[in-house]
């Protein structure tokens, strides 16, 4: 019974306790999900299981921004030519990428995975719909859509986040020079709706790892203001979006706001763990996923200046920006 073996025993003892509690918790959680599925199969609507504050705080302790930047650095390393095809083919097979639509189909042309991730499409691969005023800005999956009610936006059915937390205080109006309806607005949502008979709508598009990761202008509009919220880079896949309320308010994001034919219009690009950086082609100042930021902060930038009262005019379908690895 020498001290070394006592020390080892002391270290080893917590391990089985941790494993037992962890697996006990997992078992309890899985049983609950099984019960939910049972109820749903009987047609009973079950509210989504939302993470509690402790679980969200635990998740946020994971250094997702550091991991994201490390992932980005790794994917900037140029691969030897002979290794490119096997690596990219594995990525293509894993995430179901359709290389026939890519502007450059030859895998050897992509020096690293970061460049492969930023691949462009053949112009004719995505015809822009002429007969509708709003189009999808990107390839992806529709997570949720509909009218905004009571200043709450649904990230997925039944899980909401606050409109005001997501967009930040309404101080950009000066740069959009929105002529708001006269009567005094009662809440944040009313402030955004500038014309009688209008309502506020939202649509959430989730881009999976294998999707084309550039995004385009969803309509003819003029972009007057950019607000960059540094933040976490938690995963935004549909499973996590169903589990963490206010997920899009925790994550790093870039809010572009302006005006279209019917009044207020905004597009927000929300980063995620493996896709931490957001680029807006006409905004050379924007830097995202930087090592240091103060929690809850945001920085504003107006595209309306003395010699450009209009802001940035964007045509429907025009290249607007892209997500980058890391």
């Amino acid at each position: 019974r020498n001290p070394a073996s006592l020390g080892l025993q002391a270290r080893v003892r917590p391990l089985p306790i941790l494993i037992a509690t962890g697996s006990g918790y997992m078992g309890y959680d899985q049983y609950g999900r099984y019960k939910d599925r049972e109820l749903e199969s009987k047609g009973i609507e079950v509210p989504p299981r939302i993470a509690n504050e402790a679980q969200v705080a635990l998740y946020k302790t994971i250094p997702t921004r550091l991991l994201s930047r490390a992932w980005g650095r790794l994917n900037q390393v140029d691969l030897p030519t002979w290794l490119r095809k096997p690596i990219y083919s594995l990525y293509i097979w894993t995430f179901g990428v359709n290389m026939k639509e890519a502007a450059v189909e030859d895998l050897h042309q992509y020096r690293n995975l970061g460049e492969f991730f930023r691949r462009k499409l053949k112009p004719q691969a995505r015809p822009v719909c002429d007969s509708h005023c709003v189009i999808s800005p990107a390839d992806g999956k529709i997570l949720h859509f509909g009218r905004v009610k009571n200043c709450e936006v649904e990230q997925v059915k039944g899980v909401t986040y606050s409109l005001e937390t997501f967009l930040g205080p309404h101080t950009w109006a000066e740069s959009i020079a929105l002529n708001r309806n006269e009567d005094d607005p009662t809440n944040f949502q009313d402030i955004l709706v500038t014309k009688e008979g209008n309502a506020l709508f939202h649509c959430v598009v989730y881009l999976a790892p294998g999707d084309y990761h550039c995004f385009h202008s969803p309509t003819d509009w003029r972009v007057a203001h950019r607000r960059h919220f540094p933040g976490s880079l938690m995963s935004v896949n549909p499973g996590v979006a169903r589990w963490i309320k206010e997920l899009f308010c925790h994550n790093e994001r870039v809010v572009l706001s302006g005006e279209w034919a019917h009044g207020f219009f905004s597009l927000t690009a929300v980063g995620a763990t493996n896709v931490g950086s957001i680029r807006i082609y006409f905004d050379k100042e924007l830097r995202t996923n930087l090592p240091r930021y103060s929690k809850g902060s945001f920085n504003d930038f107006s595209y309306v200046s003395n010699n450009n009262q209009e802001g940035i005019s964007m045509r429907k379908g025009e290249h607007l920006g892209e997500f980058n690895l890391g």
Partner: protein, 32 residues
């Protein structure tokens, strides 16, 4: 990653979408 569109439009604007469906850049989201 995710893109969130928030915009005002006449009340009769309707989305022609289904939650969970795949969509591609350039396809219509809705009609007035």
């Amino acid at each position: 990653s995710t893109i969130v569109l928030l915009f005002e439009a006449p009340k009769d604007f309707t989305f022609n979408l289904k939650a969970g469906q795949k969509i591609r850049y350039g396809e219509p989201l809705g009609t007035m």
